[in-house]
Amino acid sequence: MRTTQRFWLVPAILGLACILAGCATPPPASDPAALAEFHQANDPLEPTNRVLYKVNTALDDYVLRPAAIAYRDVLPQAVRTAIHNQLNNLATPVKLGNDMAEGEPRLAGNTFMRFVINTTVGGLGFFDPASHWGYPDHDTDFGITLAVWGLPEGPFLFLPLLGPSNPRDATGRLVDIAADPLGRFGTGAIVTGLNWGHFAVNVVDARSRVLGDIASIKKTALDPYATFRSLYRQHRDAQIGDVRNFNEHTIPAWYPQPQAPATPR
């Protein structure tokens, strides 16, 4: 009985969300090309997403972008790279978990070796010798893991603060944050402060690395929202494809290399 009641709830909630959120009206079936384009964009919540895009742009203009510019201007490149390496190294436990969940032992091995080398030889993670020793970095997160498991992306979402996303990737983000062992050590004001500080530096670091790219898209695109949407979805597809099709042998740089290239990607 309860399950049937819950089944009723799902369309009811979705319908309510649609009314509150404002759905895009699909083009009429008499215009198949327009309809195909509508489905390809995968953005039934476009009106709401565009409002949130504007909110985000304002937040970015007044807070995030100035912070990122200040960060870039105040600190020299070498320091910023070291901070980025450090943040990357702190993120390895979650990455390792995702590599394993995706069933990618070689990638998991790379991540593990990166952590060991960079934490020790790499001076507590401020340097990245592992990349030069045959253990390159790669992208992964729980959104990618869910995709590898076969979960579809769902409709495109533009989220406040997080930017372009979808239900799958947004869930993945929450799981990654919840699973991060870094957030579990100790309690108290200092630990909370450190965690927020870590979060803030992460955001500023990420933003400062795309200052030029975002500025040039906003300058040249006629519809920046549509451009960001397209770029985000293509980029995610590429990241997921990279993990799915990864079947290369990773051979440390110091080990004798095979003559022929490894299995093609």
């Binding site: 549509a226 451009t227 293509q234 990607r265």
Partner: protein, 200 residues
């Protein structure tokens, strides 16, 4: 039991039938790779050369005109609105698209000083050959850029550039089509916006 000669002949015939297209494809894959290598070499030489910015822009325009299927890309980017546009609008659009492309490439010449590239493997795609390269710029992480090559009127041409998994023409098409849809489906609105871009 079949006579041995017959079996052998049959085997040879099937082998020939199956390998002929494979070798042809391998040949065109090798051609595509060497085309990318040559074009990339020209681009790198121009970008890193000692000429003035104007000279570089001129050389760049020459490379674009001979190596890139600009009209094909332009048509792709207009998507379903190509059919909607009048012949005069189509003509205007092709001209504007060409100028916007050249302009945006020119504006990036400076950023790419000191660039180098390495050609990787080639994969056959439905539309042509996809040649992957790794582009290295001083002080930046190397980036993966794939080039989609197709035979256009008998010579190889670049029909798309895929940087870090994002296709240039696909992104451009979503930009243009979304702009047109949000401007009362008017192709003229796009032409006006492009005119503004080239004159600014």
């Amino acid at each position: 039991m079949l006579p041995r000669r017959l079996v052998l002949m049959f085997g040879a015939a099937t082998l020939a039938a199956t390998t002929a297209p494979i070798t042809a494809r391998a040949q065109s894959a090798a051609d595509a790779a060497s085309f990318v290598k040559a074009t990339g070499g020209q681009l790198v030489q121009t970008v890193n050369g000692s000429g003035s910015t104007e000279q570089k822009a001129q050389e760049m325009a020459k490379i674009i005109d001979t190596r890139v299927d600009v009209n094909g890309i332009a048509r792709f980017c207009l998507g379903r609105f190509w059919q909607v546009a009048t012949p005069d609008q189509q003509k205007q659009y092709l001209d504007l698209f060409h100028r916007v492309l050249v302009r945006s490439i020119d504006s990036k010449i400076g950023e790419y000083k000191g660039v180098s590239f390495a050609v990787g493997r080639t994969v056959n795609r439905e539309e042509g050959q996809l040649v992957s390269t790794i582009i290295t710029r001083p002080g930046q992480a190397p980036s993966d850029v794939d080039w989609l090559i197709k035979q256009v009127d008998g010579s190889p041409k670049i029909i798309d550039v895929i940087a870090e998994g994002t296709s240039l023409r696909l992104t451009q098409r979503s930009d243009y089509s979304s702009f047109i849809v949000h401007n009362n489906e008017s192709v003229q609105a796009l032409l006006d916006a492009l005119k503004k871009q080239v004159s600014s």
